[in-house]
Amino acid sequence: MQSFSVILSILGLGLLHVAIGALDPDGVPYPDDPSVLNQQAGIAILKNYEHKKRTDYIFRQNLSPTAKLADKIVAQIKKTEDITIWNRYANSNNPKFPGQNFASARSTIGTTDLFKVVKRLPKGSLLHAHLTAMLPYGIIFQTILNTPGMVISAATDLASDANKNNTSINFAHSNTTVTAAAASIWTTSYIPNTPVLVTEAADAFPGGRVAFLAFLKDRVTLGIDDAEQSELGVDAIWKKFQGIFGTVGTAWSYEPLVRSFLQDLFGSLADDGVQWVEIRNGGNNGVVKTGDSVASPDPDYWYNLFQDEVTKFKATRKGRNFWGTRIIWTVSRGRERARIISDMKNALNFKAKYPDLISGYDLVSQEDLGRSLSDLTPELLWFQQQAGARNLTIPYFFHAGETLGDGNSTDDNIISAVKFGTRRIGHGFSLFKHPTLMDIYKEENVAVEVCLISNEALRLNDNVLQHPLPALIANGVYTALSNDDPAIEGQDDAGLSYDFYEAIQGFENIGLAGLGNLAQNSVLFSNFEDQNSYKWYTDIEEGANGSGIKADHVREWNKDWEKFCKWVVSEFGAKYNATA
């Protein structure tokens, strides 16, 4: 490595070497004194030198004049709103501040100009999201309430607050006439696990249907209270978080609902400027056919249904520019070997049957408590061997480093993941502590799916300002923004806008240009089609200059980006008084 003192001396920036000239009446050098200017020039050069290492350096270099202007305008918007909306410099105890925790900032964010900008930004692809935690539960529970035959049951009565808050609640469809329950689910005489019509339960809820819907939503989302009690720690919030999936899984099991949810989901993604989505989802998708009460025994039913809905959506007006979706097969990492292997076999069988739909393989649920990738080595190597033997391309897209640890088994997952040839990693929160690994991730074009709001909701950071994303970008690691579980974690919107907002609000070094680069990265690292590692790697290297689907999409995104920048200039240029 070149010596920095050498660099500095070449630039004539040896420390304190410039003589001080004229002094002001206090005897202090004027701000434009050569000694002062020399110091300032030194910093400018250093900063520029540092920026060359950034992942977004080339993207920034290639910005069109319009995009540069848009970048300036948006910086001005942020600066203004930091003061007008977020109280920067206000010496008061008003709890607002720039970069405050997302849960309590959310309602204000929606009113900002910065959010308007971000909302419109072409987001490219959503690369990390879990199916049942994507579509806001307000829509889901309302739809359930409107669907005849839907029943609710609970493992205990829901009379006390404690039971209301903790008991597991399930939904189902019943095709027989549900007789009015002997006792309301909200009283102590309720017989556990008795199905009750949802409409009946809702009407009997203290406060009626509106209150019922609010109660259900509160049960399955992490809120301001959870955010403000970060001292309770990661394991505690995961306990609550994981419990939610049981309930919402049952909401996603009845065919008409699933179909309707999928349309809503794709629609809101498209509305948010997301054109491609890779959804993580477990393989066990029992679905209850329309009019039935029990899950269809046909294992293909769900996959056919899913494909159907994608096709249907792409034919709608909204879906015109939607590129599509694939599924990353996931299984809980808590399971023992036989269970993992049998699930892997399923994954391979479905991959063979639905090669276009199944994109990759991953393990989910809390990394800190589940089996480490290192512990799973035999299974993971076996899987690769089997896939190879069957000529199936089903690469890994591992969760890794979603942890606070430094040198614990979860932290070590980021080492194992890259050794297993993962194409991206989910979270990579602890990656910034590993200089050698960051270099390897860079060299091997492994991208990190960064989930700012999710990490905050699950207590890895208190607010966006504490998130290590800037360190990854500064080190040249490829990153893309994802929203993970937006229905649970507070975004309450399937789109990516809130996560994009957090990134630009948190970090001066990102700005609109940096955000654009993150969106472009998401396209660059999408797994649009089965590719061997070589083709995957070269497609990323070539970007818009390549040939094939990926290059097409990158070029399309680039066009949308220019259009968007033009819109920013015409919409906000005058208001924020910025000129080229």
């Binding site: 010596s3 920095f4 920036l13 420390l15 304190l16 206090d26 050098p29 701000p31 002062v36 110091q39 300032q40 910093i43 250093l46 105890n93 709890p95 501040f97 970069g99 925790n101 903790n166 403000e228 009690q229 001292e231 309770l232 720690g233 394991d235 505690a236 306990k239 808590g334 023992e336 269970r339 292997i341 049998s342 589940g370 089996r371 480490s372 512990d375 080595t377 035999p378 190597l381 061997q385 606070l404 640890g405 430094d406 614990n408 080492i415 910034f432 502590k433 200089p435 050698t436 690994l437 950071n461 208190d462 607010n463 504490q466 800037p470 360190a471 500064a474 970090f507 001066e508 070094n509």
Partner: protein
């Protein structure tokens, strides 16, 4: 490390037995060559990364006893994580503050429990070398200081408004001062009749405190001078809010501790606590925005020469005393306030140079303090700093910079960019450097220029830069090879409640697997290597740090002394805690 699976039977296998038997034969065992190859590749990668660590050389040269001590400590750590720091979490109702106990929990919630652990006993005993970042006015525990305050004859309390309501008592700028003649006849400071700015004899006022008399008074004063437990967990209110409280503490303390009799007792308490904690040297920082009073006078000194005379005297007295045996000493990094205007800043710098001329052995450097985010960035005070440099050169004194820089969140903000200025201005160490991990180029420069980062993990947590020790970025700097030391910053205000550094050491040991006792040893050794023992030119400073134990000066001598203590300490661990190894 074994994964911590709680209930694997929750998902029984659904694969028929005969099928499983068939599949099972196809699963490779860990003895298969390609698995072994995978595992060894993985190990090699970890080893390659470890080589970049700043503590790599230290680890390589550990004696067999030290290695054993490290293994023992790591076992104790794991054991305590699983026993003392485990509340089971089975009962969701236990999820209330305090009931839920886990490794790496917030400092203020963990403090009491940590002080009862074996790790604590070990950390307490550890030779910690030098404390390189500590603001003197926030060093001595308030139980002691306020006790002294109340016992000191002639101390009075006053305020610019009556302290008659909860709101007034919460925020009004209460002050203390010595009066030659006791003033006992004014209306009570706790009543609306109080005439603003009238001094009232403190003992009398304390006894009349409306909520619990003297004891209530002390509790109230402590609340005013510390980040309370409640405040320390209210992280969602953000950095600026906690800094408002934090800054206000100093205003009160500055009227308490700079009356000579109190100051002398303060010094003795601080030095004794440091030495008892295994700290042999301290580079203090102090902002000179207070008035100093000699014993028996209520007229303040015009200059800061007298306080430095006493400062030096107390250090020498302590070193000569029985309880101060083995203490190396202390010096002062003069700190100006970063929000001063040019005129006042230059005045302050001038005062610094004048004291340096009188007491060259006591002033070791210059720094700027006050919340970085709210004050002027270094780039805005370049004219002043260049003036200072020139003035020092003219007066023939050597006062190097030891800047605070990057004590902030954010990325690319002005505060974050102070790091660039600090490096270019030739700082010898960086206070905090919290945001440094986001700057790969600066990291390389800092390594090359042998700049040490004074890391203050508990301070950063309580002042809301990170949620807990677990999310502190120090491991990233160590992994990159940056030399760092651990410091306690403002322990009396922030909650450590003692001058010593044991809490900070303990937190790091428990927080990070990659650190361990060896890593802590390296951090302590660094503190000796980068202490400002004496005036050195830039080239001497560089050379002596490079030479480390192989040099010939004070630094080398102290480093050798530290390493002997380290060996003795490791031996003590082995004798005391080795049960079955």
């Amino acid at each position: 490390m074994q994964a911590r699976i709680k209930n694997i039977n929750a998902w029984p296998s659904t694969m028929p037995d005969e099928e499983w038997e068939e599949v099972a034969t196809g699963i490779p065992t860990t003895e298969e060559p390609f698995i072994k190859q995978y595992v060894s590749g993985r190990e090699a990668l970890i080893a390659q990364e470890q080589k970049q660590r700043s503590d790599f050389a230290f680890r390589q040269s550990l004696s067999p006893i030290a290695q054993k001590a490290c293994r023992i400590v790591s076992k104790i750590r794991d054991h305590e994580a699983a026993t003392i720091w485990n509340s089971g979490l089975e009962d969701i109702l236990a999820q209330k503050i305090g009931a839920n106990v886990y490794p790496g929990m917030m400092f203020s919630l963990a403090k009491e429990r940590m002080e009862s652990t074996a790790l604590w006993k070990i950390m307490k005993k550890m030779p910690k070398g030098a404390l390189l970042h500590a603001h003197m006015d926030a060093m001595v525990d308030f139980d002691y200081l306020f006790g002294v305050l109340l016992e000191t004859k002639g101390m009075h309390i006053y305020c610019n408004s009556a302290l008659d309501t909860d709101i007034a008592r919460e925020g009004a700028p209460v002050k203390f001062r010595f009066q030659v003649k006791d003033r006992v006849d004014g209306a009570s400071i706790w009543s609306p009749e109080y005439i603003p700015d009238t001094p009232i004899l403190l003992t009398q006022a304390a006894d009349a405190f409306p909520k619990g008399g003297r004891q209530g008074f002390i509790a109230w004063l402590k609340d005013r001078c510390t980040i309370t437990n409640t405040e320390s967990i209210e992280h969602h209110h953000g950095v600026d809010a906690v800094w408002r409280k934090f800054s206000s503490c100093f205003g009160i303390l500055n009227t308490i501790m700079f009356y000579e009799p109190i100051f002398r007792l303060f010094m003795r308490r601080m030095l004794k606590q440091l030495l008892d904690d295994g700290v042999k040297w301290v580079d203090l920082r102090l902002a000179f925005v207070f008035r100093y009073y000699k014993e028996g006078t209520d007229e303040p000194e015009d200059t800061f020469h007298e306080i430095f005379r006493v400062f030096g005297e107390e250090i020498e007295n302590f070193k000569k005393s029985e309880e101060g045996k083995g203490f190396w000493g202390a010096r002062m990094i003069w700190t100006g306030l970063r929000l001063l205007d040019t005129r006042k800043m230059v005045e302050d710098m001038d005062a610094c140079i004048s004291v340096k001329l009188a007491y060259p052995h006591l002033i070791s450097g210059f720094d700027l303090v006050g919340q970085e985010d709210a004050g002027k960035p270094l780039k805005a005070v370049l004219p002043e700093l260049f003036w200072f440099k020139k003035q020092c050169a003219q007066e023939g004194v050597n006062i190097p910079f030891f800047f605070h820089a990057g004590e902030c969140l954010g990325d690319g903000s002005d505060t974050d960019q102070n790091l660039f200025d600090a490096v270019l201005l030739g700082t010898r160490r960086i206070g905090h450097g919290f945001s440094l991990y986001k700057h790969p180029l600066l990291i390389d420069m800092i390594k090359e220029k042998k700049i040490l980062v004074e890391s203050c993990p508990i301070s950063n947590e309580v002042l809301r830069l990170c949620a807990s020790i677990m999310s502190h970025p120090l491991p990233a700097l160590l992994a990159r090879g940056v030399s760092c030391s651990l410091c306690n910053d403002d322990p009396a205000i922030l909650g450590q409640d003692t001058s010593g550094m044991t809490h900070d050491f303990w937190q790091c040991l428990q927080g990070w697997e990659n650190l361990g006792l060896a890593g802590l040893g390296s951090l302590a050794e660094n503190s000796v290597r980068w202490a400002a023992f004496e005036d050195e030119s830039n080239s001497e400073w560089m050379q002596n740090i490079k030479d480390a134990t192989l040099g010939s000066g004070v630094r080398a001598e102290k480093m050798k002394e530290w390493s002997i203590e380290w060996e003795q300490f490791c031996l003590w661990i082995v004798t005391e805690f080795d049960d079955d190894e």
